[in-house]
Symmetry: C2
Amino acid sequence: MENKFSFAKSLIKEVAHFIKEKMNDSLDIEVKSNYDDLVTNVDQEAQDFLIKRIKDHFPTDNILAEENNVRHPIDKGAVWVLDPIDGTVNFIVQGNNFAIMIAYYEDGCGQFGLIYDVMNDLLLSGGGSFDVYLNHKKLGNYTKKELNRCLIACNAGMFANNEYGIANLVSQTLGIRVYGGAGISMMKVFSQEILAYFSYIQPWDYAAAFIIGKKLGYTILTMDGKEPDFTSRQKVMLVPKEELATLKQILDIKEM
Amino acid sequence: MENKFSFAKSLIKEVAHFIKEKMNDSLDIEVKSNYDDLVTNVDQEAQDFLIKRIKDHFPTDNILAEENNVRHPIDKGAVWVLDPIDGTVNFIVQGNNFAIMIAYYEDGCGQFGLIYDVMNDLLLSGGGSFDVYLNHKKLGNYTKKELNRCLIACNAGMFANNEYGIANLVSQTLGIRVYGGAGISMMKVFSQEILAYFSYIQPWDYAAAFIIGKKLGYTILTMDGKEPDFTSRQKVMLVPKEELATLKQILDIKEM
């Protein structure tokens, strides 16, 4: 597993370099499900780059990835979960504040995860049998905080509509931040700049954080308190386990 | 004026160093107007540091600053406008994503402004007779974009309550970002990562951006389309002048 983890850490830097080179060219932008669900040629080329390098090294391993409907089930054998560019809108509009995410599972059991904030050169990696590092700094477990000294990161729509009472929760904290990407938001949860993150996301958006979070005292649950399914887009929360009971008292969640 | 501008650029780095040193100690946090309006001993000490250095060099100059009610009128003589830590909540909770802001006015006429994102070492400076630089990169004027390829930065409450139709505007763009500080948000407007910024802010929050924006084709107006008063907290927008007419069609603004 050491070997695969080292390979993944090299690979994510390699594909970041590939993406940065491509940012000098003009982007082909396509609309996916609706006007603000965008994909570029670079998302697709970066995913192809990742898959080719993984298959060259580990020919029998499988892939679950964002683009082109590459959807091997998470619980069958060796599975790499890939998000070549998380925060595509930020990538397009800002040329900044996007991430690459890679996770590796065996028979549904998370072995390690990586989240790389490309332009700010911040690599979060670890989980499973590996300690979690943000670049060269080892990250510790969640440390208890008072709600009124915390910030929440959230999908703007879920906040504005007070879905599941999220706005009620926010009102008991120092406020909300909206960064426009699951990867960079979840990285701020693990560095304890943000208490919890709420969004409506896909398996490749949470697969790495699911593994890393388990190691650091966090859990990812759907908004009805279940494990996410790793197949569909779901409304989920990334929260410290230790705060679940407190959050349950404030949020409007059926079962938790 | 070259002399004062150089002085200001050195000074803002000096006070940043002072603030970073202080971040190793524990903070004294006080609540100001309400539970999420916080100030720390470092805000106050950094402001004292700035005022002392300015008074040492320019004894007859005046100060308009955030803390301790230092409120020289903007239109009377030589006035330094100071925000020692903009984004105090981010400073306290995240130890990141806060800015120092300095602006210099003569008889109400903006001479130069500086916004320094301390932890990310990004210095935006210029305006008046000076070109605007982000570190060593000269920034160009606003370049025309389509709304549906833009992002909006906004105070979360103004968005959630659709004040002045801001949520209607956001729905015609690629979405909203909430960063938790006027300084870092307005810096992203000038680097063209964000189209426009809406918030409920004080003179020291917009004094630097007012000068820098004028140089780059932007304007800061109150939400009823007037010049901000430089005395009270007001709901304002930082927008490209070229987009005012378009925004006027979407936003609910009486006079503009």
